[in-house]
């Protein structure tokens, strides 16, 4: 059965990106077109989520070649929910860019690069082929290189070099790992890989490959020993770009780890998932240490990304229903709230002209909406009950206790406190206190609304958990039982 709906969330940004190349000197046309394409992508992702909810996993066999011979695109609930969240972030990111990126960037293919980034992320979520995943990684990385260096300030040039060098290395490692995997199994389709590996049993060689994949995706997703590239490079580009990166790029690495560790390498869990759990714990620890240490608005938010990656992966490592469900809730929540936090940090920086907390203060007097939005996203990030971060962390910790990982579960609990401290530090120092004089009191009207959209979504996500729960349960069922995925993809055999 083929169903082109699966391709639509990928096709829209791709065509959008290609079309936008032709209008690079007309910023107004660019803005209108990218809004239209982002809204279209959002609409089809909603339809995709609903279709998957009603009819189960949707697949497309590209060119009509049956898997494992052709490339398949697979939309299970997990991937569809992530695609939906990606298109929400994409739309708000585009709206936020109108007021913040500036003419010179808009003239030089900013919006096409954003659309290609979204296409790469969506493709990486939807693909069912491990080499095709590599190609989509490169699509999104290429777009991210362009976005990171666009503008060409000294800091951007310096940080782009490091970012590209790290990613070139991890891409080469990805190719090497795929080569090893192909030599052992002789296939590239993820469902077929899972079948081949469960037939042969996960030998020592395959466990080594599993760890290599953890290194590759961990480098993309910023887990503990491999996150060092991230704080510098996410700080260099403008806030709109940092928001897209922070909300989407690392999450693709997290998604890939989750997919590989729930579908393919599931036969030596004591070893692979044990390593994952401890790396997750260290990721959380080092993330909060960074978040507490810095007095720079952007750096604090960046280190909070690292903490969140750790929490999500700990849920995956627990590998029981509560843990997996928690990690899905937390992943969706974190994409939304990191977008909002970067938008608001960008607003603070554009008002005060600095990202140093010690040089700002009293912003709530003149910018109450931005202030209260920041307060809401801060408590959502820490996981205070009515908002979105609570249910995910609750379930992750429940999963951790059920799996007997008491020490790491306490680390997760403790991390919430420090995360709350780190973002409240921004709120207290940036928004409260004496009002420091600001030149001209700039208006932030158009910049606040994208953040308002995301914070409202986060509140809806927290209050409407009952409504979202069936979707999440469906997503976690597929992750917990790979045979559902395999049967959907390989059913014609």
């Amino acid at each position: 059965m083929s169903n082109n709906l699966v391709m639509m969330p990928l096709i829209f940004p791709l065509i959008g990106g290609i079309l936008l190349i032709f209008f690079n000197k007309k910023p107004i046309v660019q803005r209108i077109l990218s809004t239209i394409f982002s809204i279209a992508a959002l609409a089809v992702s909603c339809i995709l989520v609903w279709t998957v909810h009603q009819n189960g996993i949707q697949i497309v066999e590209i060119g009509g070649w049956a898997p494992p011979y052709g490339i398949t695109f697979v939309a299970d609930m997990y991937a569809s929910l992530l695609v939906l969240t990606t298109s929400i972030i994409g739309l708000t990111g585009v709206l936020y860019s109108f007021r913040t990126v500036g003419k010179e960037r808009e003239y030089f293919f900013y919006y096409p690069a954003v659309q290609f980034l979204l296409a790469g992320v969506t493709g990486a979520f939807l693909t069912g082929d491990i080499f095709n995943l590599f190609v989509f990684f490169e699509v999104l990385l290429m777009a991210s290189y362009v976005l990171m260096v666009l503008g060409g300030t000294k800091r951007q040039l310096r940080e782009s070099i490091k970012y590209i060098a790290v990613n070139v290395f991890s891409s080469a490692l990805f190719v090497i790992t795929v080569a090893f995997l192909y030599a052992v199994t002789g296939t590239l389709n993820m469902a077929d890989l899972s079948v081949k590996i469960s037939e042969s049993g996960q030998t020592g060689l395959l466990t080594v490959i599993a760890i290599l994949f953890l290194i590759v995706f961990g480098m993309k997703g910023a887990i503990f020993p491999l996150y060092i590239w991230m704080p510098g490079s996410y700080q260099a580009p403008p806030a709109a770009v940092s928001a897209l990166f922070g909300a989407l790029l690392t999450k693709v690495g997290v998604y890939a780890i989750t997919r590989v560790y729930t579908l393919i390498f599931i036969h030596d869990k004591a070893f692979t998932h044990g390593i994952l759990a401890w790396l997750a714990a260290l990721t959380i620890l080092f993330g909060v240490i960074g978040a507490v240490a810095y007095w720079d608005v952007k750096k604090i938010v960046i280190y909070n990304i690292i903490t969140a990656v750790g929490v999500i992966l700990f849920g995956v490592a627990a590998a029981n229903p509560a843990g997996i469900e928690g990690s899905i809730y937390y992943l969706l929540h974190d994409m939304i709230i990191k977008g909002a936090l970067f938008f608001l940090a960008g607003i603070m920086i554009s008002i005060t002209g600095t990202s140093d907390l010690k040089k700002m203060g009293g912003l709530i007097g003149n910018y109450p909406l931005a202030g209260w939005m920041f307060f809401l996203s801060a408590i959502a990030l820490a996981g205070i009950p009515p908002l979105s971060g609570f249910i995910g962390k609750l379930k992750v910790i429940q999963g951790g206790f059920e799996a007997g990982e008491y020490a790491i579960s306490f680390v997760v609990l403790l991390s919430s406190l420090l995360v709350l401290y780190s973002v409240m530090k921004i709120f207290i120092n940036g928004f409260w206190g004496e009002t420091k004089p600001i030149q001209g009191n700039p208006s932030v009207k158009g910049m606040v609304y994208p953040a308002v959209i995301l914070v409202a979504l986060s509140a809806a996500f927290g209050l409407g958990t009952e409504f979202i729960a069936p979707f999440i349960t469906q997503a976690s069922e597929t992750l917990l039982d790979p045979s559902i995925y395999i049967e959907a993809v390989l059913k014609e055999q």
């Binding site: 060409g152 300030t153 310096r158 070099i161 060098a165 290395f169 080569a179």
Partner: protein, 113 residues
């Protein structure tokens, strides 16, 4: 044959790692070039190096070499070509702007812009 090629790939990886850990930006880029050579050769090796005709159906041979790794390599080559070109131009631009190709001088702290 595969053992031979594995050793060659290993030497390429070794040289690439050494170069990527050096100070000069140009050496790092040469290192990434060697790294992708090694990775591409490794795909070819891991696909198997048994004898067989080139994968052209017109050859009408009894057995062909595996066509899949060749397609993968072709994809990986053009991707790394694109990235390398971008990186070279970036190195050129940053040499113009920053006036150095020494990675130690590109450290930069928060006070730098």
């Amino acid at each position: 044959m595969e053992v031979m090629m594995s050793i060659v790939c290993g030497i390429l990886f070794m040289a690439a790692t050494y170069l990527m850990l050096s100070k000069s930006l140009l050496r790092i880029i040469i290192g990434t070039g060697l790294l992708s050579h090694g990775a591409h050769l490794l795909i070819l090796t891991m696909g198997g190096l048994k004898g067989g005709a080139a994968p052209l159906l017109g050859e009408k041979a009894k057995s062909y070499v595996d066509p899949l790794p060749q397609a993968l390599i072709l994809t990986a080559i053009v991707i790394s070509f694109g990235v390398t070109a971008f990186m070279l131009v970036l190195a050129y631009r940053s040499y113009q702007e920053l006036g150095t190709d020494d990675m130690d001088h590109m450290r930069g702290t928060d006070s730098h812009e």
